[in-house]
Every structure is written in C-alpha cells, then in structure tokens.
C-alpha cells in the first residue's frame, strides 16, 4: 500500500475519500475565507477561527493552464508530456470563492454555474514513494437512488 500525505495538513483534513478544506471564519463579521489568516481582510479583527468549508459549490469563473508553470510549481509533468489542466474559482455554499484545480476530461469544457464537489487528487510522488495529495473539485454526477 502506498503511503500518502496531504500537501498541507493545515488546509486539508479528513480521509482522502471524505476530504474537508479548512478555512477561517471571522467571529466579528462572519467573513469566511481560505486559508485561515491571522487577521480578517474585511474588518481587521484578529479573532478568526477555523472552519471546515462546504464540500459543494458552483464554478464562478475558470481558465485553462496551457503551459508548464515555472517553480515553485512542483507537479511532475515535463515540457514534453504536459497536457493542459483547468483551474477555477468555486463559489461554496459558505459564501467564499476558492481557487482550485477542477478535474475534467476536456480542459475547455467547464461552464459558469456548473456544480462541482471537493475531492482529493494525486499531485506528485516523493523520492520515498509517498503520494502527495492535493485538493481539487470535479463536476458532480447525479447518483441514482
């Protein structure tokens, strides 16, 4: 069995098949943000507590990444095998828009308002074989009752 770890335990919590994103909630003005910051960007309060974010949302805007990003990107594609991926701001039920990879078969197939759900996804494999997992969203599929 391969070992895995999250890219950052401070923002990802739960098991890989029941992932939660950890953001912040300002106790003074109720602003929800991601990741949790020491101060609230709306009211300046320092009273920002942890909050697990909603797992579903809709695509607010999106784009494709059509070229291999420079470091600090640590994905393991090369310029030879790189294939475009998709990125979006996903508006969660909490009222925050989170920037995230979106897993789709065709990079230009997303549309605004599309429903998506949180998943974990492979990001890279470390030298000792540990699988590093990132957060991502994917279009929701209607589950038959």
């Amino acid at each position: 069995m391969t070992h895995h770890r999250y890219i950052d335990d401070g923002i990802m919590r739960g098991s890989p098949d029941d992932l939660r994103l950890v953001g912040g909630e300002c106790t003074a003005c109720d602003l929800v943000s991601f990741p949790r910051a020491d101060g609230c960007s709306r009211c300046g309060s320092q009273d920002v507590v942890e909050r697990e974010l909603a797992r579903r949302g809709t695509v607010w805007t999106w784009t494709t990444q059509g070229f291999l990003p420079k470091r600090p990107y640590t994905g393991q594609e090369t310029t030879e095998d790189f294939t475009p991926w998709t990125i979006a701001y996903v508006e969660l039920a909490d009222g925050v828009r989170v920037e995230s990879r979106v897993l789709v078969d065709q990079p230009e197939s997303l549309h605004m308002g599309q429903e998506v759900e949180l998943v974990s996804a492979p990001h890279r494999v470390e030298d000792d074989g540990t699988q590093v997992l990132m957060f991502a969203f994917r279009p929701t599929t209607e589950v038959a009752a």
Binding site: T63, K70, P72
Partner: protein, 389 residues
C-alpha cells in the same frame, strides 16, 4: 498641482543582451535630461524604481540609486521606490509631492527593469502566501488575468473577436513606434488561432516580461521658463490606491463573493477630481494592457465607457489612432513588453510626446490637449496621472 514635465527619455523596450538594467536606466535618464536641456547636476532629487530586486532570476537586481554612479556623484538625494506594478506611477507621485512640498524644484523620476523570459515568477512568501499555493501551480499571474476576463466577458457580452482586435491594434501601433519591441502587424485570425495559454487568452493576447527604461524630468511650474525652452506638459493629477475589500486581485487563494470596484476605479475618480477634468475631456490615454482583456476592463474602470460598451467601441475602431478615444498609441504593453518599473514611465513618455505633437506617424490628430496614464497590477495597486498641454 503646480508641477510640469519638461523632459522625457526612453531606452527602447525589448531584449538587449549584454546591456544591464542599470545601463538602460542611465541611458533613459541622460535622454530625459537632454530633452529638457538640463545637466544632471541641476537635478535636486532623484526617485527611481527597479522591481528586479524582488524577483528571483531577474537580471535587474540593482537598486535604482546605483544610477548616481554612472550619472555622476553629485550628492543628490535619491529615493528607491518599489511598489509592484505601480512602481513608476509611485516614483512620479513621490517626485511631484517633493516639488509640491517645496523640497526641490527639479526632480528626475526613472524606472528600469530586465526580466527573464517566460511568465513572471516570485516567492509566494513575499506576497504573504503559503508554499502549497505555489506548489500546486496557482502562483501564475496569467491564470488570474484569464479568469477575470472570462467572467467579465460572460457578464458584459465581450466577444473573443474583440479580444483579438485589441491585440491587433497594439501591434499595428507598434509598427509606428521605433522604440517598441513588437513592430510587425498581426491579423486577428493569427491572434485568435495562436496557442491557447489560458482560456480565453492566446499567446499574442498577452504581453511578455521584457527589458527597458524610461525617465521623466519634473519641475516646479513657476520655474519652467528660467530652466528650459521646452513646452511644459502640466501634471494636473496624480493618484495612487491599493485594493479595498472584495476586489478581484492576482494571487488570491480565495475571493469574497462580491466584485468591489478595483483600485483603478478609486485612483481614477480621485485623479479626475484633483485635475478638475472629466473622462470625456481626455484626448489620448495609455492604460495597463497586460493582456487584451485588461485594456477592455480598464476602459470602463477609468471612466471612458460603461461596462459592456467596449464591445461596440472597439469593433467600431474608437480606440485606434484617429478614433474618438485613442488608447495605447505607442503599442502599449502588448507591443512593448513589460519591464515593470519602466512601463509607467513609457506611458508618461508617450503622452508627453503626443501632447507636444511630436509623435510622428502615430500622432493623434487635432492637437490633443489632455492625456491620461494608468498602471495596475500585483498586488492590487493602481496609479493614475492626468497631463495637459
């Protein structure tokens, strides 16, 4: 304001192997002084920017005050400015404030940079971001521009063809500018069918990081006559703003579910008020076109039209030289590239040249009297200037 611009100088923009950022800055400074008919030892304050200092792998890793070496060690006070994409606008602001405050009568403001090829890069920690954001490939400025214009097109009915028209106009203007980097015209079809870097923006809809320098000599308005024969161009307004809560900015792991007016809107309104001039008075403008979409959004943010009106205006050629609102007449960032600290100086240079009537084959007709400049960018800063003949 009682500040006049009496000299402007550029080092051409592009790629110049073997020429350092500092040398380009010195060349632009000497040209601005020669343009004003002044000597370096008449300058009472220097203000300069070079953003390469804060960007890894940027060869412009020189503090701007190193310029006092090649220009001559006169003992002049010199202030280094680094303020993201508004670095040049900030340098001019500091220079003008010093004149207004009575600290100096003659000030040189200069900006120069020499960035490596490929998209801008930096350490996420410099922007207060956690390492995972960069590791996951989201610390890429071009994604931000693409997501912003994609949503804007959806909300305001802007077409892909209009994105291409903005770039084609920039390259067309670049062919008329000997200092520009891109001087070959390109058809809208070529632009639309080029490699998709970040949907909906293709390769030729983005400006490239580059190299270059620009300098401006500012002077107390009452002193112009005793110092130079040059026709003064008056700096009527100069404003700088950072982002308010709820704006859509680069390097944001999350956004609030609102779209607050951008810092450009705040800087622009304040500048019109300071100058006592309205958007309809502007005869020629240089605005931040980091990519085609930025020029479109900034037309509305600077008050030149309502959101959505850009589609018809651009399709009808209003932003061409000879149109009702000539924009980025020197080719803008799209044709000149973006050496960050030099970019805003290039805008002021172009407006001054246009208002003097010295822009040659790219001259805006009918003797323009009011010019406008705007820079905007990371991490959510904007600077605006209004100049008059």
């Amino acid at each position: 304001m009682s500040v006049a611009i009496i000299g402007v100088g550029l080092h051409p923009f592009g790629r110049f192997e073997g020429v350092s950022a500092l040398e380009m800055g010195a060349i632009a400074s000497r040209r601005a002084l020669a343009d004003a008919g002044l000597r370096w030892d008449q300058v009472q304050l220097g203000v300069g920017g070079s953003l390469g200092v804060s960007l890894p792998d940027s060869h412009g890793d020189t503090m701007a005050d190193s310029l006092v070496g090649p220009l001559g060690l006169t003992g002049v006070p010199f202030i280094n400015v680094a303020n993201g994409c508004a670095t040049a606008g900030t340098a001019i602001s500091v220079a003008a404030s010093a004149i207004e405050a009575g600290q100096a009568d003659v000030v040189l403001a200069v900006g120069f940079d020499k960035h490596p090829r490929g998209h801008f890069n930096a350490d996420p920690a410099v922007h207060g971001l956690q390492p995972w954001y960069g590791e996951l490939g989201m610390f890429v400025t071009t994604q931000f521009f693409a997501m912003k214009i994609n949503r804007y097109m959806h909300d305001h009915g802007i077409s892909h063809d209009t994105l291409a028209k903005v770039a084609a106009k920039a390259f067309r203007n670049g062919t008329r500018n000997p200092n520009a980097w891109r001087r070959k015209p390109m058809s809208e079809d070529e632009i639309l069918s080029a490699r998709m870097l970040n949907y909906p923006l293709t390769q030729y809809m983005f400006c490239s990081p580059g190299e270059g320098a620009g300098a401006v000599v500012l002077c107390r308005a009452e002193k112009v006559r005793e110092l130079t024969d040059r026709t003064p161009i008056h700096l009527k307004g100069n404003t700088l703003r950072t982002r308010r809560f709820g704006t859509f900015e680069v390097f944001s792991p999350s956004l609030a579910p609102t779209w607050t007016d951008a810092p450009t809107v705040d800087a622009s309104r304040a500048c019109y008020e300071q100058a006592g001039i309205g958007p309809s008075d502007v005869d020629v403008a240089q605005i931040q076109d980091s990519e085609s979409g930025a020029e479109i959004i900034h037309m509305a943010e600077n008050g030149f039209c309502e959101h959505g009106e850009q589609e018809d205006l651009i399709q009808q050629g209003a932003t061409d030289i000879g149109g009702s609102l000539p924009l980025n007449t020197d080719g803008g960032l799209l044709a000149n590239g973006e050496p960050i600290a030099a970019s805003g100086m290039r805008q002021v240079h172009e407006v001054v040249v246009q208002l003097r009537g010295e822009a040659g084959e790219r001259q805006v007709p009918n003797e323009p009297r009011v010019g406008y400049t705007q820079v905007y960018g990371a991490p959510g800063v904007a600077a605006v200037s209004i100049l008059t003949r």
